[in-house]
Symmetry: C2
Subunit: 506 residues, 2 copies
């Protein structure tokens, strides 16, 4: 009992979910705040998750014909001004570069200080997103319909001056990928927007074990400058929504503003139809809130920096070397022989000279999917002690080493499936269909209210009024619910076949 | 002849080396300038080279025990001020963020403009390098000697406001890796500095086919704030030097300024010995200048985005499908069966509907190591037409397909070796030992002078005087030349066993 108290994360999810989240991040050593306002330091275990997300998603994006490129960090102010709606959408959160050098100056007390000099004729903003600067490049690259489509992706840092930052979920600087494509026709651009939308939904399900609701944003919630925004929305354990990825059809709004024009098949000048889409380090916050428990982080196996931790148990000096050798040998075999999701399995032997209990709990809190202990007796019996992060921390299973090697991939897949099932159950139990306004209004007064799905034909103004009243938003109009039998809109009473999902969000 | 003129890059290296470089970059579609001053757009073929460098070097860094992490883009001014020498070294090239929002304002003519508002109490600089902000994190992370060593690497963008930017070689924003480590003792830190120095030298040789001179910088050329800077210097075809990578021993300069202190084995407070080291997208500029010819880019096979281009030759519609199928089938076999440097070989089938000559020359100019043509007759004979970028553009070899598959890896290695041999010959033919000042002085008046190696015991001031006079620098004190038999310093006449290499540089 004392051990439990010492080891588990405090507080529990039920006691204080936001504080529990902070403590999980800290206990797993994923990231920390820095003195740069709203910016985080991503520590090796946290960055390892991002590297896996990046590598696995990158493979999918390349398979679907996209190429990576890199565009400038700084955007001339005049670029941002070109698309008014877009500019206004980001204006309040732009970091602005106004000077290009520093000079040493002495203050009244004779102390040296650095002061900005070299004022720029035109200030730059640090990219909050890159539609404008990539659009300017596309404008140079496209002359004829033969130059289309352009299918470009960028892995980069971006900056949005957030007033209430929260590690991973909302930080001033974050890492992401942003796809930008240009097409000859509206149909092709729409197809691209949807392809990526589905790719994101599948990536979250298959790689992060997160089931999402895939849908369209209403006009009020669209990306500034977009004609259509598709979103994947995840429900986390306090039943709030997290917008985990978005895919935008931008029409010809940006191409007209930036002259991404081309000579069409009939020789006339036409404007390209463009799209943009992205996911970010926010995915890490999402997976933490979706899966972790009161003992700490639980990592979906595909993105865990180490999937298997092998811990030598060495009570006596005499058998120490033999045990450590056996651990290293097992690690070697696993790395060579076991594939999980087309990749070699990632194994770490924790050979540090610290107490076994402390060590074990460290890996529990770090969310490693599988822990394997090997002690002197296991050497004799040729068994290993298997512990899984999707089971109770003290649950152990002694299995023949050969069986473990043969079944490693299956066990990892099973852990993935268990996380996905649990998250799917949570989601499905907490989306309720609602057709009358009274039930709707009272619902949001409860603690951690789930999502409501309602028939909806209201206007933007009506949506915004309801949103403000209950501190909720329409998360999306779920794609698989849009052809339902017509019924009365919950607000206007008009007959509609459209369904909206409402909820609180991060 | 007309074809040649149309296809090759203009001007030649001999006519105008700097302009030739720009044209190679353009003809290979690697990168272009943007409207953000001094910042480049890295296009897919150029970014593909960087992705390979990044992935291959990252593997080496992880094998040597380093972990990746990520630190904020913006550095508080006060951090930079902590280490005076460091701060002064970068002050003149810092981009400064002074505001965090924009507001729309109407000018006299009623036109909307965005103006910076939300002035920051303390400005930030965009990282020109991250010693200070990573040092602040290390200070939080280290308490005891047990927390050491810290072996951290970051892949990131950095910004230095360059007055004379040049694509890849010197740009305001560039991409790099920066390693930062902290150690208990001076010996360990020096060992780390040297380990990385040798790793860089090997990486350039084995992955970029560039032979370097590995040596130490003199005090005048050291990194601002370092006690020792080790460098790898590459000679390119106009005999200028490019500093391709550096590894710094920082002593306790940064740890004292930022309090990276720890309780030592004897319980006393001690300061960590730190190192930092990096290579950047400059490596791309270096490999272009080292290997390319008057026909355009020549890529070292290990980092070529595509190592083999397969071009279907389809003179008749009737055999078209069969030829294309054969090309795709060959690509598939190569991808599955051929490893080059532990990685599956990278193959691209260029099936575009454009003229064969245009297509071929495009890949010549893009520097693809191997081109394979397959036409209807080759199907019958079961041969392929092999063309290599390290041979004349019109040199062809018809070889049995099976032989090609079996020998692919060997051919790629041969191309690598040929590039390395050629670059090594150039380097060795253009480093001359020089022991008298008269010869030294006249040497620099020649066109594209090579490097001179001299006995050297001069002071910093004497070095700077010579450097200024001839627009040269001491590139390094080459490590393998420091135990030479004592002889008279070229300037002072004092007996010295130290040798210095002088040259012009980018």
């Amino acid at each position: 009992m004392a051990k439990q108290q010492q080891s588990a994360v405090q507080p529990t999810r039920e006691e204080d979910f936001p504080e529990w989240y902070q403590q999980v991040v800290r206990a797993a050593d994923l990231a920390e705040n820095s003195e740069t306002r709203g910016c985080m330091v991503i520590k090796p275990w946290g960055y390892g998750i991002w590297e896996n997300i990046q590598q696995q998603l990158d493979t999918r994006l390349k398979e679907t014909g996209h190429q990576n490129a890199y565009f400038p960090l700084l955007i001339p102010l005049s670029y941002l001004e070109k698309e008014a709606e877009h500019a206004e959408g980001f204006a309040t959160e732009c970091a602005v570069v106004t000077h290009h050098r520093l000079e040493v100056e002495k203050d009244e007390e004779g102390k040296s200080r650095m002061v900005p000099t070299g004022k720029l004729a035109e200030p730059y903003v640090i990219r909050p997103t890159s539609e404008t600067i990539i659009g300017a490049a596309f404008s140079r690259w496209v002359e004829s319909y033969r130059d289309l489509p352009l299918l470009i992706n960028q892995w980069a840092n971006v900056m949005r001056w957030e007033m209430r930052p929260r590690l991973f979920l909302r930080t001033a600087e974050f890492l992401w990928q942003e796809g930008h494509t240009a097409h000859e026709t509206k149909e092709e651009a729409l197809k691209e927007t949807r392809t990526i939308h589905m790719l994101y939904a599948e990536f979250l399900r298959e790689h992060l074990a997160i089931p999402v609701i895939a849908g369209e944003k209403t006009e009020a919630e669209r990306f500034p400058g977009a004609d259509m925004t598709l979103t994947v929305e995840a429900m986390v354990q306090d039943k709030k929504a997290i917008q985990a990825g978005t895919s935008h059809y931008l029409g010809t709004n940006f191409s007209e503003a930036e002259d991404i024009s081309f000579a069409g098949r009939d020789g006339t000048k036409q404007f390209a139809h463009t799209t943009s889409w992205g996911v970010s380090t926010r995915l890490i916050g999402t997976l933490i809130m979706a899966h972790s428990d009161d003992d700490g982080l639980i990592l979906p196996p595909r993105v865990a920096p180490s999937q298997i931790i092998i811990i030598p148990v060495t009570p006596k000096e005499a058998t120490r070397d033999a045990v450590v050798d056996a651990c290293q040998a097992l690690a070697k075999v696993l790395r060579l022989e076991v594939l999980f999701g087309n990749q070699p399995v990632r194994v770490h032997v924790d050979n540090r000279d610290i107490g076994g209990g402390v060590k074990k709990w460290e890996w529990v809190k770090k969310g490693a999917p599988i822990r394997i202990e090997i002690g002197p007796r296991d050497l004799e019996s040729n068994k290993v002690c298997l512990q899984r992060r999707d089971r109770a921390p003290n649950e152990k299973e002694f299995i023949p080493k050969e069986d473990f090697i043969r079944n490693t991939s299956e066990i990892l897949q099973e852990i993935h499936n268990n996380l996905l099932t649990k998250a799917t159950e949570l989601r499905d139990e907490n989306i309720t269909e609602c057709t009358d306004m009274e039930t709707f209004d009272t619902h949001w007064a409860t603690d951690q209210p789930g999502w409501l799905m309602t028939p909806w034909s209201g206007s933007r103004e009506q949506e915004e009024e309801i949103s403000k009243k209950h501190k909720i938003t329409i998360r999306c109009l779920p794609l698989d619910q849009q052809e339902k039998s017509p019924t009365a809109c919950i607000l206007t009473g008009e007959t509609t076949s459209c369904r909206a999902i409402w909820g609180r969000s991060y």
